[in-house]
């Protein structure tokens, strides 16, 4: 599914860019992220425990940042697999300054496969959107601290 939109952060662009490319902050922001360890520059091993209460799955996989043009844009590619299935996501982000704020525009493509895709298709779209909002909220909080 395709997700597009934008989010406004109350922080300067350089700081937002750094937050998006710093593993420690990303780990705080990504919902259910239990670990995110860099094994090569901008390439990470990830462990996620995500879902909704009662229906959580553990996914292990990789995450990387490519085509980086600091502090303006990059693409983030992630994929993980676990017992409920697999996830793949590719999101392009562009940062622009608006006064004291930074606007992040995103265009993301999320693929969900396996058990959850077959059984949960009724809710996947909404849950994906919800997690994306959670990500931005948690990112916002991380930026404030």
């Amino acid at each position: 599914m395709k997700l597009e939109g934008k989010y406004k952060f109350a922080a300067p662009q350089q700081k937002v860019w750094e937050a998006f490319t710093t593993p420690a902050i990303l780990k705080q922001a990504i919902p259910g992220c239990e670990s995110l360890t860099e094994y090569e520059p901008q390439k990470y091993d990830a462990l996620l425990k995500i879902g909704i209460p009662g229906v959580k799955g553990t996914y292990s996989g990789k995450f990387e940042i490519v085509d980086a043009q600091p502090p303006n844009q990059c693409r983030m590619i992630g994929e993980g697999s676990g017992t409920p299935g697999f996830l793949k996501t590719e999101t392009a982000i562009q940062l622009t300054t608006e006064g004291a704020h930074t606007v992040v525009n995103y265009q993301g493509d999320i693929q969900v496969g396996g058990l959850i895709a077959g059984i949960g298709q009724r809710m996947i779209g909404g849950i994906a959107k919800m997690m994306l909002n959670q990500f931005f909220k948690q990112m916002s909080q991380a930026l404030e601290s």
Binding site: T83, G85, F86, V112, G113, G114, A117, G118, Q121, R122
Partner: protein, 816 residues
């Protein structure tokens, strides 16, 4: 020899003897089989639609307590061969993915454990490394040169292609006053039997024999193909199908790879292994019918006479093609022109692969797709010419005086009176009244529509049709295929009681009951005096390639084979009787339970006495006669011949008629369809048991209703199946089905002993297009074309919104 064959039981709604055991839980299904030390299998399935398998690590799974062993593609490749299939370059189809997966749900590994629970725990511990590949889901995309290729050894996604001409289509199209065109998409759906696949397999390493309990619809061709795949002769594989199967509908007639897979798991782990497919597995990876994209043109005169049909039909077999496909493209060639006198056809027939799950015949096999195009086209033509769609059908029908009629494609229609059946339906529905209602409704801005379908229902399968996948030149240098044989054995015990040994292998059709009715009439007995054993055991039964229940063949081939055996028994009884009476055969008759002198009916010998003698006093029998009292027949219809050099073949052997007239109203606010009236008229020749026939008709209607409005195996653009549970794969319930009135006429077949033909699939072929035609008729004021199914409220609403806004309709997307 003359006998009295009083038809006392055939034609009655005699209560089914199968029902009691089914209702009180004493049916015998594969899952009732409990063997000593039996273990349980679970299957790891691919979550990707298209991917290389780079590695499988089963070490953690194998260490789990209770796990007895594991089978992967590497084992399967070493222990078996690909399933043979009748296409020029076959894909390598094994029962398990070897180096690549080609649809979501494809088996990747099998765990055998003490319980199914433990087996599934072990599946969670298997690590598979996949390298995903681009997927192709859409039929039109699959044939483009730049499409991702599923099978490297084939090099394209086209499994089979033939160009076939009947008559002189170029001339017909040149002479036409009008040509109409259409593009149609028939969805991938299936009949979801209540009982899923089930296998219990053992392997004896000392005798190198497999014993496999399963619920396949016969031995059919699958026994032969599975033994080839396992690399063994057929007499090293004992295939046992129990008394009861919980529905088949064709899902259990295609190559059933799990029989081989579980057999190999049993062999590798040296265990007795049971595998019961769960519903999610069934919806992901059992068998559905093909989805089909059709481009069609009709050439016609301006008086409505249809001169010719040109079509390109592309069937989608999914990730692999397996027997009896490419039957999907060829099975209906004999009745391609349906109920009409059309002599000229031009066909471009293709069978392709995409990353969807695999196919097998589904109730109606090929005809619902065919008629969805042709019957829609009849309405489109009528519309173009300003003719009433009923009138144009009457104009083109084959007339009763022309029966038996050889259709353009080679089908020999045995009997029928299409105008009479159609008129009956029109009278039952009160056609004039509904046209008047429609006019009134349209003036009020309401959308009422009347849809017709008048179709020929082919039953029985002549396996010759599959060879039309080969060109006439290719057929010349290969083994011909033909036939439709079925076998029965009748034996009479020393007290004159009769037992029938059958392996028609029914899945709920009530064969035991109908067999008892037929034999009772033939021998002057009560059905309760006729016992029947109808199971498949390839060691203990006489069978052939065509044996099984599929294609509604019991009523025609089955009954005739049965009566052939019964007649042979009667001949023997008469011979023994004449011999014991010391007279000539011509001097006696079989009547009222006796062989008696024609000249002196009081002098005779009872059948019971004859039976006693045949067993107890074998020396008293005529010389050169077998002792005991039994007879058998393995009868194939004489018209089951190979195709001729013009690709014409009698693809089925009996041809019934089904007609639907459906009146609908579309709710303009919600797109929901309301049914005002529905009449369904059938002609399946002689009716053997009206109650069973009604059940079959309603069953066929309901399955087709599902396909027309609710059911679809849907995939997203990445090949993920969206309908892997009954939450999303929607089978209609009793609440959704409207009231339906049934009507019958009987045009007995001259080709079968009782004149009966198949009835199990008729409405499957007519209902989808009748609903399509009704909705199209309803939405005519908006200029909406109906060319795909299922017709969901969401879809209809979107079409109506676009039409009201003056926007073009989207082309029907085959993403599923």
């Amino acid at each position: 020899m003359s006998e009295q064959n009083a038809k006392k039981w055939v034609g009655q709604s005699y209560k089914r003897r199968e029902d009691l055991r089914l209702l009180v839980g004493r049916g015998k299904f594969v899952d009732d089989i409990k063997l000593p030390n039996m273990k349980y299998a679970a299957i790891l399935r691919s979550p990707y639609a298209h991917a290389w398998i780079r590695g499988i690590d089963t070490s953690a799974a194998e260490k789990l307590p209770g796990v007895r062993g594991v089978l992967t593609g590497t084992d399967v490749a070493a222990m078996s061969k690909p399933f043979p299939v009748g296409v020029p370059i076959p894909p390598k189809y094994y029962s398990c993915a070897i180096d690549k997966v080609r649809f979501v749900g494809e088996p990747v590994a099998v765990i055998v454990a003490d319980t199914r629970y433990i087996a599934e725990d072990a599946l969670d511990l298997i690590q598979v490394e996949y390298e995903p590949l681009p997927v192709v889901m859409d039929i039109a995309e699959a044939i483009k040169p730049e499409a991702p290729i599923l099978h490297e050894n084939i090099g394209s996604n086209i499994y089979s292609r033939r160009f076939i001409k009947y008559g002189d289509p170029d001339k017909a199209f040149a002479e036409a006053d009008v040509i109409v065109k259409g593009r149609f998409l028939f969805p991938k759906y299936g009949s979801t039997p209540m009982e899923t696949y089930a296998v219990v397999a053992t392997y004896n390493p000392h005798t190198e024999e497999y014993v496999i309990h399963n619920n396949f619809q016969g031995p059919f061709v699958n026994h032969a193909l599975t033994s080839i795949a396992l690399g063994i002769p057929e007499n090293k594989m004992r295939w046992i199908v129990p008394t009861d199967i919980g529905g088949g509908f064709g899902t259990k007639t295609g190559v059933y790879p799990y029989i081989a897979l579980i057999a190999l798991a049993a062999r590798k782990t040296n265990q007795t292994v049971k595998w019961i497919e769960d519903r999610r597995e069934h919806l992901l990876a059992s068998a559905t019918q093909t989805d089909r994209l059709t481009y069609m043109e009709f050439a016609a005169k301006k008086d409505g006479t249809i001169l010719g049909i040109r079509d390109q039909a592309i069937d989608n077999c999914g990730g692999y093609i397996r027997a009896p496909e490419p039957g999907c493209a060829y099975r209906s060639n004999g009745n391609h022109t349906g109920a009409y006198q059309i002599d000229h056809c031009d066909r471009d027939v293709m069978v392709v692969g995409t990353n969807k799950c695999l196919t097998a015949p589904n109730r109606g096999y090929t005809c619902q797709e065919l008629y969805f195009s042709t019957e829609r086209m009849v309405d489109i033509l009528a519309d173009k010419l300003g003719m009433d769609p009923a009138e144009i059908r009457f104009k083109n029908f084959i007339q009763p005086g022309q029966m038996p009629y050889t259709a353009a494609g080679g089908g020999i229609y045995d009997s029928g009176d299409y105008p009479k059946a159609f008129q009956l339906a029109l009278d039952m529905v009160d056609y004039k009244k509904w046209r008047a209602e429609q006019k009134k409704a349209r003036a009020e801005g309401r959308y009422i529509g009347i849809g017709f379908a008048t179709v020929v229902d082919p039953s029985v399968t002549n396996i010759a049709y599959v060879t039309t996948a080969l060109t006439p030149e290719e057929r010349k240098v290969s083994h011909p295929k033909s036939g439709s044989g079925e076998s029965f054995l009748i034996k009479m015990d020393p007290l004159g009681k009769v037992h029938i040994i059958a392996c028609t292998n029914p899945q709920g059709q009530g064969h035991e009951t109908v067999i008892s009715q037929i034999v009772a009439d033939a021998l002057g007995l009560h059905p309760e005096e006729v016992s029947v054993s109808d199971v498949v055991d390839t060691y203990d039964r006489v069978f052939t390639i065509t044996t099984g229940s599929y294609s509604s063949r019991f009523a025609s081939v089955g009954t005739t084979a049965l009566l052939t055996a019964v007649d042979r028994l009667k001949v023997k009884i008469v011979k023994i009787g004449a011999h014991l009476l010391q007279v000539n055969i011509d001097d006696v008759e079989l009547a009222e339970g006796k062989v008696r002198l024609k000249a002196n009916p009081k002098k005779g010998i009872s059948i019971k006495q004859i039976a006693g003698t045949a067993h107890w006093d074998q020396a008293a029998l005529p010389l050169d006669m077998d002792a005991g009292l039994s007879a058998s027949a393995l009868w194939s219809m004489p018209t089951s011949k190979p195709p001729d050099e013009l690709d014409r073949v009698d693809s089925s052997n009996t041809y019934g008629f089904a007609c639907e007239i459906i009146v609908v109203e579309i709710d303009a606010n919600t797109g929901e369809i309301k049914f005002h009236k529905w009449v369904s008229v059938h002609d399946a020749g002689t009716i053997l048991n009206p109650m069973i026939v009604e059940g079959q008709v309603m069953g066929g209607i309901t399955h087709a209703f599902g396909g027309a409005l609710y059911e679809e195996f849907a995939y997203d653009e990445n090949g993920q199946c969206l309908t892997a549970s009954f939450q999303d794969y929607l089978c209609p319930t009793a609440m959704e089905l409207p009231a339906i009135e049934l009507g019958h006429i009987e045009s007995p077949s001259p080709f079968t002993a009782l004149g009966s033909k198949g009835i199990g699939e008729a409405s499957c072929m007519s209902v989808p297009v009748a609903i399509g035609n009704a909705v199209a008729d309803a939405l005519k004021p908006l200029g909406i074309e109906i060319n795909e199914l299922p017709l969901t409220p969401n879809k209809i609403w979107h079409m109506m919104q676009k039409a009201k806004a003056g926007l073009p309709q989207a082309e029907a997307a085959n993403r599923g």
